[in-house]
Every structure is written in structure tokens, then in C-alpha cells.
């Protein structure tokens, strides 16, 4: 018979698994195509954020909550902070329960050029989110995500 202690260890492992840290990938000039290809047959919410942006953390906390309810929802996170701030990005993701979410961080290339590689029509304000559809549709939203946008993401992902 398994002891209570062993059960609690097992429970911890099961609960902790989805949140296990995965590596943060370096976002480069061609990375946006990789993001699109990864989700070519499904809906994905792409959220661009920074540790400097309080509104971004607010949105990420809400996304983290949605992912706990619906682990099947697809998300990709891109931090615009420079490579030297990798540890701060990692710990922020961890705090928000998003250490297990697919994450990128801007590489050494100039940030304005990486922004233009994602969307030349985007002026750089944060948070910036895109709902990318399998048919190539793209909806860009600046500022905090309206609840309706999160609902739409969940609905399209069924």
C-alpha cells in the first residue's frame, strides 16, 4: 500500500508536469514562419509581450488561467526583451504559470526589424496579440485582450 507521503509526491509530479519548464527559443527573422507552420492546421493565439509591460502580465495571467481549464488551447508567446534579460523572462513566465507554454524571446537582431518580420503594420505597442487561423486568417489586437477575444479563441479551438 502506497503511503500518504508517496501519494502526495506522485500527485505533485502529475500536477507539475504540464508546467515543467521548456526552453525559450530565440526569435529571429524567419521565426514567425516557423510559428505559423507549427500550427498550420489549427487555431493559435500568438501573444507578444515584455517584462516591461504591466498590461502584458495581466493578459498572460488570464491566458494561463484559460490554459489550466483547457490544456488543448494553443498559444505561442514571444517576449520582446533583449537576450540579456532571458532569466527575467523565464522567471516571469514561471510566476505566471506559463513555464510550460511554447515561448520565444527576441534574439540579438534589432527589435524593430523583428517586429516588422511579424507584422509591418504593427507599430510596436504591447501587448500585441494575433489570433491565427488554419486558413491563413489573422486578427491583430493591441492592448489588453478583450474577454470576447479569449472566448473566440476557445470557441474556434473546439
Amino acid at each position: 500500500m502506497m503511503s500518504a507521503r508517496a501519494w502526495s509526491v506522485l500527485l505533485f509530479l502529475v500536477l507539475a508536469t504540464p508546467a515543467l519548464a521548456r526552453g525559450i527559443e530565440t526569435f529571429e527573422q524567419g521565426s514567425f514562419a516557423a510559428v505559423q507552420n507549427r500550427h498550420a492546421d489549427s487555431v493559435v493565439l500568438l501573444v507578444i509581450w515584455s517584462i516591461e509591460c504591466s498590461h502584458c502580465k495581466h493578459d498572460l495571467a488570464r491566458i494561463s488561467e484559460r490554459l489550466r481549464e483547457r490544456p488543448d488551447l494553443r498559444v505561442e508567446l514571444i517576449a520582446t526583451d533583449p537576450p540579456a534579460l532571458r532569466d527575467a523572462v523565464r522567471s516571469t513566465l514561471k510566476e505566471l504559470g506559463l513555464a510550460g507554454a511554447p515561448s520565444w524571446q527576441f534574439g540579438p537582431a534589432p527589435a524593430p526589424r523583428l517586429r516588422a518580420a511579424i507584422d509591418p503594420e504593427w507599430f510596436g505597442e504591447l501587448p500585441r496579440s494575433y489570433l491565427l487561423g488554419p486558413d491563413g486568417t489573422r486578427m491583430g489586437i493591441s492592448g489588453r485582450l478583450p474577454e470576447a477575444a479569449l472566448d473566440h479563441w476557445a470557441e474556434l479551438s473546439r
Binding site: E52, H55, C56, E121, W122, F123, G143, R144
Partner: protein
């Protein structure tokens, strides 16, 4: 900025012996220079450029020729390395007092969400040495005191304004609303006043515009929060004659831009203001639907009206505009993303901003580049441009 002859003499004495040869800079591991550092702030005198910049987590001071090609051996403003907040929206500032004292401010990052401190040091020997840095905020808590702006009046009063997220009974809340705070020194930077609440709530992540006004006053132009989340700009004149009023007195602000950019987010793009004939030239960015891009307007001092509004740049990839004026000749420069690097553009007006000629390309660079900065030298209006591959350059717009 004009400078007294006393200052010029003071800093010119050792200049010729210290200047680095044109084009002789190379960035190795130990080389400290304005070309190898980043985020410079320049002030022109009659015959010199004075600059502060950041390298190896320290603020440095250097003197250069007005052409910007040769600079003296840098002097450390910060005795030890500290986490200096320097990027497109934040950089050290330098101002020269009429008696020649050099005043420097910058922001130091500290532990805590968005936390920082506004730091100050001065030099009374023409930049040969600087006083130990002090923090100007009078609240000892790890909150955000950032995005410093510095001004020295003709009478020598030193003004520092910054964005502050302290819990505040005058309007800011514990949830971290951002407000403008102000401290000033009437003894040349020896001591500073207590911190004074000026206005708010403001955008929490955008640099401030500050420029001289008549007499001892100055003006502020900043991204405000109207009706909760409208991130347009406000303008105010701070009357320098009696800045030591009630500690919690709010200033009267005027809404200066009207695009109605509704954003619960961070633009990371503050405005710019310079003094012109009869008023102030204003430059700003917005991403409001239908009005996205770079804008210009003039704030007329006599009528207090915002006039001559022009939407100068509508294409994306252009940001953080800079103004430079020489009488009725007004120049409006910005950096723009190009396929392999960045391009510096400038539009010019010969009638004080009433009409604008088409923009021209001032320079094009591969690799990373800073934003332009206005430098008013004896030879006219120039834009300083710092790039990774070519260091600091001064570029003159057409007709300046």
C-alpha cells in the same frame, strides 16, 4: 543650447590634447568611447559638443568637436557600475548651467516590478570629475521612479521631472498608477527639494518631453491617460517663479493631441518638444485607428492654442520623432526600418511648421541604429545618429 564663454574656456583647455583622431575609433573589450557605447545625449556649445552615454553599465562624459567626429577620453560619471536603464525610451541626460556646472541624470533599475530610481550627479570642474551619484526620490520603497527629464533654467535652477508609481493620495493608487513628480535645486545641485506631485495619471512607459519656456519656466509634453485609457498627450507650462508651492499642488494641464488612441497597453513611445519662435514645436506618435504614425503641431504661447497640426508620416516602421529648429526652419527627423537596417529621414519646413516639404533620406545604415537627437550647433541644426557600425555621426538636414 547657448553656453557661456566661461564654460567653453573651462572645457576647451585640455580638449586639443585629448581628441581622438577622426575615424580612429575601434571597439575592443576595454575601449570606452561614445562610438562604442550607446544611448548618447548631446548638448552643443558654441564650439564643442558635450555628451553623456552608457557603456559597461556606467554613465560616461566626453567632449567633442562640433562636427561630432572627434571626442575626448571619457570620464566616468558613475564611480561604479550600476543597472542603468538605457534603451530607446530611456537614456542619461546632460544639461549645462550658466555658471558652467554640468548636471547629469539617469535612471537606475532596482529589484521589483518596473522599479527604478532617478539618479543625479554634477561636475563643477568642466567634466574632469563628477560628484558621487545620489537618488532624488524621497520615498524609500522599491517602486517605479523612471523616465527622468532634466532642465536647467537661465537662473541656474535645476529641475528634474520623472514618472513615479508610488501610492499617492493625490490620485495615484496602490495599483500602480503612474504620475509625474518633480524635484528642483536652487543651489546648483547641492541639495534638492522634496518631491512634488505634478500631474497624472500618465502613461507609465513613455519618455517625457521637456523644453525651456519664458524666463525661469519650462514646459512638459507627455503621453497622458485621458478617460482611463486614451493615450493622447498633455501639455503644461510649469511656472519657474514659484515652484515651491504646496507639496501636493497639481498643475493645470492642457490636452494637446486628439487622435484618441484607446490602448490598455504600453506604447513605449514618448513625444518630443522644443522651443520655437512664439511657442513650442511638438512631435508625437500614435497608433490610433486612421491616424497611425508620426504627427506634428505647434503650441502658440500667446493664444495657448494647438495649431499647424500635420500627420507627417503614416507608414509603419517609423518611430520616436525628433525636432530641431533654427528660427522658422524646422526639421522633423525619424528612424525607419528598412529591409537590411535603418534609414534616417527628415522633413523640413521653412515657415515655422505651417507647411512641410517632402521628407528626404539623411542616411541609411545596415545593422542596429539608435533614434536621432537634435543638436543645435553654431553651424545650424543637426541630428546626431548613433549606429552600431559607424558610431556617432552628425547629419545636417537640407536647408539647415
Amino acid at each position: 543650447m547657448a553656453i557661456t564663454n566661461a564654460v567653453s574656456r573651462n572645457v576647451a583647455v585640455t580638449l586639443s590634447a585629448l581628441l581622438l583622431a577622426v575615424g580612429a575609433w575601434a571597439c575592443d573589450a576595454d575601449g570606452i568611447s561614445i562610438h562604442c557605447g550607446s544611448t548618447p545625449w548631446l548638448v552643443a556649445t558654441d564650439d564643442l559638443l558635450l555628451a553623456v552615454f552608457v557603456q559597461d553599465q556606467r554613465v560616461w562624459f566626453s567632449r567633442g568637436s562640433v562636427t561630432g567626429s572627434a571626442f575626448s577620453e571619457p570620464v566616468a560619471v558613475t564611480a561604479v557600475a550600476e543597472a542603468i536603464d538605457h534603451n530607446g525610451e530611456s537614456r542619461p541626460k546632460l544639461a549645462i548651467a550658466p555658471n558652467g556646472t554640468l548636471h547629469v541624470t539617469w535612471t537606475r533599475r532596482i529589484d521589483g516590478p518596473f522599479a527604478g530610481e532617478v539618479r543625479y550627479a554634477r561636475s563643477v570642474d568642466g567634466g574632469a570629475s563628477f560628484t558621487p551619484a545620489v537618488s532624488l526620490h524621497d520615498l524609500d520603497a522599491p517602486v517605479s521612479h523612471r523616465f527622468d527629464a532634466l532642465h536647467v533654467t537661465p537662473g541656474g535652477t535645476v529641475h528634474v521631472v520623472w514618472i513615479d508609481k508610488r501610492p499617492h493620495s493625490g490620485g495615484a493608487t496602490a495599483r500602480g498608477e503612474a504620475h509625474l513628480f518633480h524635484a528642483f535645486s536652487r543651489d546648483g545641485g547641492l541639495t534638492f527639494s522634496s518631491n512634488r506631485h505634478l500631474a497624472g495619471p500618465t502613461c507609465e512607459c513613455c519618455r517625457l518631453g521637456l523644453a525651456a519656456a519664458d524666463g525661469e519656466g519650462f514646459v512638459l509634453f507627455w503621453r497622458h491617460l485621458f478617460d482611463g485609457s486614451i493615450r493622447d498627450h498633455a501639455f503644461t507650462v510649469v511656472d519657474g517663479r514659484s515652484p515651491d508651492g504646496p507639496a501636493d499642488s497639481r498643475i493645470e494641464l492642457q490636452r494637446a493631441t486628439f487622435e484618441g488612441w484607446d490602448l490598455t497597453g504600453c506604447p513605449h513611445q514618448g513625444p518630443h518638444v522644443i522651443r520655437g519662435d512664439g511657442g513650442h514645436h511638438l512631435a508625437w506618435f500614435t497608433a490610433a485607428p486612421g491616424a497611425g504614425g508620426l504627427h506634428y503641431a505647434f503650441r502658440d504661447t500667446a493664444s495657448e492654442q494647438i495649431v499647424r497640426h500635420a500627420h507627417l508620416v503614416a507608414r509603419p516602421g517609423a518611430d520616436k520623432p525628433q525636432l530641431c529648429a533654427d528660427g522658422d526652419h524646422v526639421h522633423y527627423a525619424w528612424r525607419s526600418v528598412s529591409p537590411d537596417g535603418f534609414t534616417l529621414f527628415a522633413a523640413s519646413s521653412t515657415d515655422g511648421g505651417r507647411t512641410w516639404q517632402p521628407a528626404t533620406e539623411l542616411a541609411r545604415i545596415q545593422g542596429d541604429a539608435d533614434h536621432p537627437q537634435c543638436v543645435q550647433t553654431s553651424t545650424g541644426a543637426s541630428f546626431a545618429w548613433h549606429t552600431a557600425s559607424e558610431g556617432l555621426r552628425l547629419l545636417q538636414p537640407e536647408g539647415s
